[in-house]
Amino acid sequence: MSLDLATDTKITWCPGCPNSQILVSFRQAVEEFVADGTMELQNIVAGAGVGCHGKISDYLEVNTFNSLHGRIVPTLTGIKLANPTLEVVGFSGDGDSFSEGFNHITHAARRNTDISLFLHNNQVFALTTGQATSTSTRGFKGGTTPQGSIDEPMNPALIMLAVGATFVARTIASDITKTKEILKAAMLHKGFAFVDIIQPCITFFDTREYYKERVHWLSEKHEKKSLDAAFDAVRGASEKKVPLGIFYQVEKPTFEELV
């Protein structure tokens, strides 16, 4: 019998929003894990912050904790520490983890707490109708930056490598199968796993065409255990190409093991 991971709640993302693709990828990942006996459904906890991404918790018939804006990461850390047998994942946004409460994700990464954090990176505050986040491109014209954003954007994957995440990957929501595989790899990883999911906002910052032309998957030869290779790959993003795949994966003692 296949699992029904949908709830009765009506999906209120914009029709065609790539958030729905992330939802499908995650549901598939869970279904496969439960079907092959890798995980038991009751042990999966999915947290979310606040922003468009956060609605995902209402659409998942699994344990969820929909926390405050910017605060999902410490909440997840607490859940995993309280019961390390739980499989703890979190959905967050570029506004939710790299603008408000940015310090939490850096500390969770350096602690190597055994959670997976999936970043719905749409480079815009969408639920508040279109303002610049810390990953918006310079010159982005939003409600609070009518003349264009004057700030340089952050590169979340680069930051996660710098602060000690033991799993760093990037994917694009439109590639549902690849995204599912990367989410699964992140969930299986022991330690802090970070996945930057390019999730174009079709209403306030439609980057679908931009990324379609530029994304490319890392070659099979990429050395996942090399931090230098990971930095090179992540820095390799440019106007011309945006690399996707698992940049970095090493095993280190986790926060829960050491507390």
């Binding site: 410490p74 520490l81 939490h104």
Partner: protein
């Protein structure tokens, strides 16, 4: 001297930060406690690590002592400044032990100084200078009139965790120095006369920690902030043996959210901070309110606003604590007044948090958190209340926010087969999914507020209000929190007897009880360590009773008994 303090003796130990003054205060208290005396000691220090002027003050008697007195019978001064600062408060026959190096420069004071070469003795004994007050401990022990053997036995116990051998050696040298000088000894209670029941010397912060532990604490999360830090440090150390998870994360916001995550996953967790830390936590406190994730907070007030007088006391955040967190949600706020109440109220708060699934706050302050008292905590008297648990046999779907008559939705935790457990910061339906439906929004709020009915029934079984003094007096003094110590000491020094009323439960407020306790007062006096008479405002809000006579102190120092008695007497 006033009659009230005639059987109470007081010692001060003064020096610079880094001289081990706080520890010395505890050591002297423990010595007296071992002799069967009841002690109260406070520690006054500036916000710096080296230098400045610190002092510990220990008052003791054969009966319970609830505050330290200003007038000194003994001064132990590690530097010259200490003698100059305390000279005005010395009783005429006070003994003054001074570091030898400063005796000559203090000649102008014309005081009978007892020179103790604390620094030199420490050097000769290869002891760290931070332990040098131990020779004064020995000298003082001699003057108490006990034998060297008796003192050494006590010292071995007092210094058991901090290098007993070296400290006992220092104590012995100090004792012998006095013995050789042929000084007179006082008559004190000797070890063979000690009552069977001697308590422990413990501060409010540790008593709170012990209360949490008694009520089944499994985890503690905190970020250091005076005056709450010692609870975190105590549990970090004590927790290891008990399998307690103790975490110090990146900031107070992480503290409470991490704790809420732990609680959601089923762990009984507490957090601790000062008032400023609670200010940082307040959005998450509101999250605890709406998500009904049980959480208990130790909030120890220091003087604000902002960084304020960082290492000094205040009762300036009662109203803040009653309202902290946006939106409306039920909460539990209790304000213990002494070390024993810290233990009881902390245990009760953790249990209330789980019984009613709401945020519970234990409101302390610097004077209560960091002052030590001789007490015997009844650690077996408090057990955990696990709260209402769900039956998750799968017959009917589990709804985390099930609408119930008593407002309490049965708890289940992630990892439970057949239960999908949802928590959320959004207003939500029974399943825990966000809602904007007017009916559901109303219904869920009504459910949460129905939990207060249970708490109202609990009024009968918990110490919401306590009374002291002359129950028939028409002069009534109302107070709360750490002011209890000075208030009950002051009660012995009044021009006419008064009734004293202490309010412990601030939210929910036991309105009928407070009304009945204040009924018939001809003179009603409010005593608080703040500028705006926040308890008086609460009493007026809840009971309609307006208190016109107020004794307010907002100089960042706690009330002292004699000065408070003088203020109260003005109204009597």
């Amino acid at each position: 001297m006033d009659a009230g303090s005639s059987t109470i003796r007081t010692i001060a130990i003064g020096g610079a930060a880094g001289d081990g003054i706080r520890e010395a205060g505890i050591n002297f208290s423990e010595l007296l406690n071992e002799l069967g005396y009841k002690t109260f000691s406070s520690f006054d220090y500036p916000s710096l690590i080296r230098g400045g002027h610190n002092y510990s003050r220990v008052s003791y008697a054969e009966h319970i002592v609830r505050a330290d007195y200003r007038e000194l019978d003994v001064l132990v001064a590690v530097n010259a400044e200490s003698v100059r600062i305390h000279a005005k408060t010395l009783k005429p026959d006070a003994r003054i032990f001074v570091e030898e190096a400063y005796v000559s420069e203090l000649a102008d004071l014309n005081l009978p100084l007892i020179s103790i070469p604390m620094k030199k003795i420490a050097e000769e004994t290869n002891a760290p200078q931070v332990a040098r007050t131990s020779s004064a401990f020995g000298a003082y022990g001699y003057t108490l009139g006990i034998t060297l053997d008796q003192l050494k036995k006590i010292a071995a116990k007092v210094f058991a965790n901090v290098g007993a051998d070296i400290n006992v050696a220092l104590v012995e040298k100090g004792y012998q120095l006095m013995q050789k000088s042929g000084r007179t000894q006082d008559e004190c209670r000797l070890p063979e006369e000690i009552p069977d029941e001697i308590g422990e010397v413990i501060d409010g912060n540790r008593a709170v920690a012990k209360g949490f532990l008694a009520a089944g604490l499994e985890a503690y999360v905190g970020y250091p902030m005076t005056p709450s830090t010692s609870t975190l440090q105590f549990l970090a150390k004590a927790g290891k043996e008990r399998g307690l998870k103790v975490v110090h994360p990146e900031d107070e916001i992480a503290v409470i959210n991490m704790a809420l995550g732990m609680s959601y996953a089923g762990k009984r967790v507490a957090v601790g901070t000062a008032n400023g830390g609670v200010a940082l936590m307040q959005e998450s406190l509101s999250l605890a309110g709406v998500s009904e994730v049980p959480i208990v907070i130790l909030e120890s007030m220091r003087m604000g606003p902002a960084t304020g007088v960082a290492t000094h006391t205040s009762q300036g955040d009662l109203q803040f604590t009653l309202h902290v967190g946006h939106g409306e949600f039920p909460r539990f706020v209790v304000a213990p007044g002494d070390v024993e109440e810290c233990f009881v109220c902390a245990a009760d708060a953790l249990n209330m948090a789980w019984k009613y699934q709401l945020p519970a706050i234990v409101l302390s302050d610097k004077h209560l958190s960091e002052s030590y008292m001789s007490v015997t905590l009844d650690e077996g008297s408090k057990g955990p209340d696990l709260g209402k648990r769900a039956n998750t046999d799968g017959e009917e779907p589990y709804n985390r926010y099930k609408i119930t008559e008593d407002g309490i939705s049965p708890l289940a935790f992630p990892g439970t087969k057949g239960a999908v457990v949802k928590a959320t910061s959004y207003e939500h339906n029974e399943e825990g999914e966000a809602t904007e439906d007017a009916h559901e929004v109303t219904e869920m709020q009504d459910k949460r507020f129905r939990k207060l009915q249970g708490l109202y029934h609990d009024f009968a079984w918990f110490p919401t209000v306590k009374t002291y003094g002359d129950q028939n007096s028409d002069a009534i003094v109302v107070f709360w929190g750490s002011t209890k110590g000075a208030a009950l000491e002051a009660a012995k020094q009044l021009s006419r007897p008064a009734k004293f009323v202490q309010i412990l439960w601030m939210e929910p407020f036991d309105t009928e009880r407070v009304k009945s306790e204040l009924y018939g007062a001809k003179v009603l006096i409010d005593v608080e360590a703040n500028h705006t008479a926040q308890l008086a405002a609460l009493i007026r809000e809840k009971t309609g009773i307006e208190i016109h006579n107020k004794v307010l102190k907002y100089d960042a120092q706690p009330f002292t008994p004699t000065a408070l008695a003088e203020e109260i007497n003005k109204f009597l």
